[in-house]
């Protein structure tokens, strides 16, 4: 089919996002702004121990309080007692044993949030603290693993002349979306419930919530709501089941709104990792063998530890050819807070280890680190060293390296303004004590779901006299998906007016998750297909050859207005989009397990005060293959925002745990990059043709978070000469305390 590039607001333009004005004026309704007449407020009793036995749980004192309408425990869950995104192993409310600090034990609905919190405090509960398992290596030794992958490829006897080994760690990172979890459950008066949920995938929520409530499928409708960011934190259930249970019990709407402290424990985090690596190369610098042991701690419940571990394992050697590979990955079960999805999803952890190894190997070979990468890089037509699958589509690693090296470096430090110095306006550093460093890293990651998952997105296009509507259940987390989908719709249909309508779970099939860099290709693919179908249907019906805002045309003449086209009602077309299939891995974890890949590189420049251990990240420049730019402003926004989350992991972000308890579950102690911490981010966007997304567009949001962290740490190593094998890099790591 042909597309009409003349329509205003089509692909390639930086169209203004449709929710922008409302968000700027404070009018946009986030989930915690929702209100329903007569609504009650929920609160949660959580375990204060990493592991404990519930010795006594008496809700009577709380129930007796004025203004308290319900207090529910494990016994009150009418259906399945557990839930989970992959495995239903997590109790809705703990029974007998609590397995992590903050695990929900009881829930309360009361007239106002304060009464609800006081009622939680009034519950008579006694815990017997038990010895928690908090060390992931001990968990491996004890066989406490959610998933183990012993992946071997190639001749296991191969050995290289030059060998480097290293041990690396990455910390537990919080997604820290500015909007905390909130949700509203409204009973329908007939035994069912409507839930406005903090979720990235309404249908997955529906699937998990329903069995716990013991309702029929059409009695639960899950609606997306204004999220305030996600970055993986809303892939798992938080308050959803609790809100529905209380609404159904009381017959009144129930709202939950976690404060920041509860948000930290109310959602999953990026898995902390421990990684042992051994790289071997021949004397010319050709990689011969990579061995690694990866331990990612999944915490108390499974969440997405399986697929996160898979990513860490499959991408453990980065975008390089390696004839012999042995990667042993473990996703452990401990009594630490549960871990799951965060931007980059497993690829972040092993990229940090493997890119550090590449630099170390380059030093051992006395080679330029980027020359070593170029010498070993994977490109289209090569086979992935781990899964063995062929890169059928473009993989412009060569161009990423070339463009990255060609980008101009930022000017030398020429200012005594403390805002330009490590330590900032704390006036701790003088220019004379600053050392500059430069570092590089490349990152490779799968796009969309892998290992044979049957992934689909449903979109219904509806044409009416005013224009077209896109109906879908795809969740907008803030990234700009709706804007881009409207652009695809306008371009394919040739119509200026394309609106977005969220459908709940009762109205349309699944759109899949807004994660894994998948909505641009998946919802985009479905919008594209539904628009083509709608356009063809209308043109065929009126024997036309073109569609535009005034109606159907043939040979340049108008043959039917949109009013005429829609005289019998709106015209609809429903499309279900599936990407090319993947396969489950075989027993050696080989196979065509991934459908597509993202390749990117970062170059970081840092200024370091070695004496005080302070770092200022000056610039993090990047080159990435994005397939096709649908909206330049949105693409730049994803690249800059994703890079900043990589800056955070590199130099400041860490959930500090002691005995399984979080010590810094607040924004005072969990440090996030501020405006003054923000480096400049210059970028080159590669638009390689040959992708299967709409107009060749790829999902782009994860790559910026993968190689940014190792590039920054490489730059700090370059400035200091310190090994720096753990992120975030702390002042004491630089000073050497």
């Amino acid at each position: 089919m042909t597309t009409d590039q003349r329509v205003k607001g089509g692909i390639g333009e930086s169209t203004i996002r449709p929710d922008g004005v409302a968000k700027l004026q404070g009018d946009f309704a986030f989930l915690n702004d929702l209100f329903a007449e007569g609504m009650l407020h929920g609160a949660t009793l959580r375990s204060p121990y990493a592991k404990a036995r519930i010795v006594r749980l008496d809700i009577a004192p709380a129930l007796a309080m004025p203004g308290v309408h319900a207090v529910l425990t494990h016994d009150d869950v009418p259906g399945d007692k557990t839930f989970g995104l992959v495995d239903a192993d997590q109790p809705v409310l703990a029974h007998e044993i609590t397995n992590y600090w903050g695990e929900p034990v009881a829930i309360v609905a009361a007239d106002d949030p304060e009464t609800a919190r006081r009622a939680v405090a009034a519950i008579d509960v006694e815990f017997e603290e038990l010895e928690p398992l908090i060390d992931s290596e001990e968990a491996v030794a004890a066989g406490e693993v959610f998933r183990e992958m012993d992946l071997r490829s190639g001749d296991q006897e191969l050995r290289g002349e030059v060998v480097v080994e290293g041990y690396y760690e990455t910390a537990m990172q919080d997604q820290a979306p500015l909007g905390t979890e909130a949700g509203l459950a409204i009973p329908d008066g007939e035994g069912g419930v409507d839930l406005y949920a903090p979720t990235q995938w309404v249908h997955a929520d529906h699937e998990q919530i329903l069995p716990c409530l013991g309702l029929e499928p059409d009695q639960l409708r899950v609606h997306p709501g204004g999220l305030g960011g996600a970055f993986g934190s809303r892939e798992d259930i938080s308050l959803q089941i609790h809100a529905c249970l209380l609404a159904l019990r009381t017959g009144r709407p129930v709202k939950f709104h976690y404060d920041r402290g509860e948000s930290f424990i109310g959602h999953v985090h990026r898995h902390p990792s421990r990684m042992w690596y051994r790289h071997e190369a021949d004397a010319e610098g050709n990689l011969v063998r990579v061995e690694a042991k990866l331990i990612l701690d999944g915490g108390a419940y499974a969440s997405t530890t399986g697929p996160v571990l898979a990513n860490a394992t499959y991408f453990a050697v980065g975008p390089y050819k390696v004839p012999s590979v042995a990667i042993h990955g473990f996703g452990t079960r401990t009594n630490n807070p549960p871990c799951g999805a965060m931007r980059g999803f497993g690829a972040v952890q092993s990229c940090f280890g493997s890119e550090a190894q590449m630099d170390k190997l380059a030093a051992a070979l006395e080679m330029d680190p980027m020359e070593l990468r170029r010498k070993n890089m994977l490109v289209q037509g090569d086979h992935m060293p781990t899964s063995g699958q062929r890169f059928d589509r473009p993989l412009p690693t060569d161009k990423v390296i070339e463009e990255l090296l060609a980008m101009p470096l930022p000017p030398a430090l020429d200012s005594d303004d403390p805002r330009h110095l490590p330590g900032g306006t704390g006036l701790t550093t003088e220019r004379s004590s600053v050392k500059r460093g430069v570092g590089y890293a490349l990152g490779l990651k799968n796009l969309m779901f892998s290992e044979g998952f049957d992934d689909s997105t449903e979109v219904r296009m509806i044409l009416n006299p005013a224009g077209a509507e896109i109906h879908a259940a795809s969740v907008e987390c803030g990234q700009g998906m709706i804007n881009a989908m409207q652009q695809v719709g306008r371009t394919v249909l040739g119509l200026s007016h394309v609106a977005w309508v969220f459908d709940d779970t009762s109205l349309i099939g699944s759109a899949g998750s807004t994660s894994a860099s998948r909505q641009t290709p998946m919802t985009g693919g479905a919008v594209y297909a539904a628009c083509v179908g709608l356009r063809d249907k209308v043109l065929e019906q009126w024997d036309g050859d073109d569609l535009s805002d005034d109606g159907v045309h043939k040979d340049g003449e108008l043959v039917a207005t949109l009013d005429q086209v829609c005289a019998d009602g709106p015209v609809e077309f429903l499309a279900t989009y599936r990407h090319p299939p993947t396969s489950p891995p075989d027993e050696n974890f080989h196979g065509d397990v991934h459908v597509d890949f993202g390749i990117a590189g970062h170059r970081a420049v840092v200024d370091v005060d070695e004496e005080l251990g302070l770092v200022r990240v000056i610039s993090v420049d990047t080159v990435q293959d994005v397939g096709k730019v649908l909206n330049p402003t949105s693409v730049v926004g994803q690249m800059e925002g994703g890079t900043m989350q990589g800056v955070g992991l590199a130099v400041m972000e860490e959930i500090v745990l002691r005995d399984g308890k979080m010590l810094n579950a607040n924004f005072t102690d969990y440090l996030l990059p501020t405006f003054l911490d923000a480096p400049t981010v210059d970028m080159v966007l590669l638009e390689e043709e040959g992708g299967f997304g709409p107009f060749g567009a790829k999902g782009i949001a994860e790559s910026p978070t993968i190689s940014s962290t190792p590039a920054i740490v490489a730059a700090i190593r370059n400035a200091t000469g310190k090994p720096l094998t753990r992120v975030p890099v702390r002042p004491e790591d630089i000073v050497g305390l």
Binding site: V21, G179, Q479, V636, F667
Partner: protein, 153 residues
């Protein structure tokens, strides 16, 4: 206690205990939900309002301490027909993603431009360093406000 404030040019009253935060009063009692609760610890700036001429985190102001104050919230910076210049600047530049930090940025930036119509890039960065954005990496916000500063120069 009966709390009296002038908010966005109007006299407003609320019956409060006095120990609530100004943010709670705005959001829960006065139907002004534009100010956002993200950390409620004064760290993120999402609840920024202008209180007697100063940009403050409304989560850190006790309601009783705000008695008699003049307050501007994000709702008071624009109307249906026109946006505030900082809103226009952020919209054009793509400085809005999830939008949760956005009202706080708008208020803090409006206050900055009120005091200094043409701030330097460093001044923009420093003045807005109390506002955390998790989505944009600050680049688009900076570009928008730099363009506005240049326009005002």
């Amino acid at each position: 206690m009966d709390l009296s404030l002038k908010i966005n040019g109007e006299d407003r009253h609320a019956s409060v205990t006095g120990s609530e935060s100004l943010l709670t009063v705005l959001r829960e009692y006065l139907a002004l939900p534009g100010s956002k609760p993200a950390c409620e610890q004064g760290e993120c700036g999402s609840c920024t309002v202008i209180l007697d001429g100063e940009a403050v985190c409304s989560c850190l102001v006790m309601a009783a301490d705000a008695e008699g104050s003049v307050v501007t919230t994000v709702e008071g910076l624009s109307d249906e027909s026109s946006l505030h210049p900082v809103q226009e600047a952020m919209l054009e530049a793509g400085g809005v993603q999830c939008g949760f930090c956005t009202p706080g940025f708008v208020v803090a930036a409006a206050h900055l431009f009120e005091e200094n119509p043409s701030p330097s890039s460093d001044e923009i960065r420093e003045e807005l360093s109390g506002n955390i954005c998790r989505c944009t990496g600050y680049g688009a916000i900076l570009r928008g406000l730099e363009a506005l500063a240049e326009e005002n120069a």
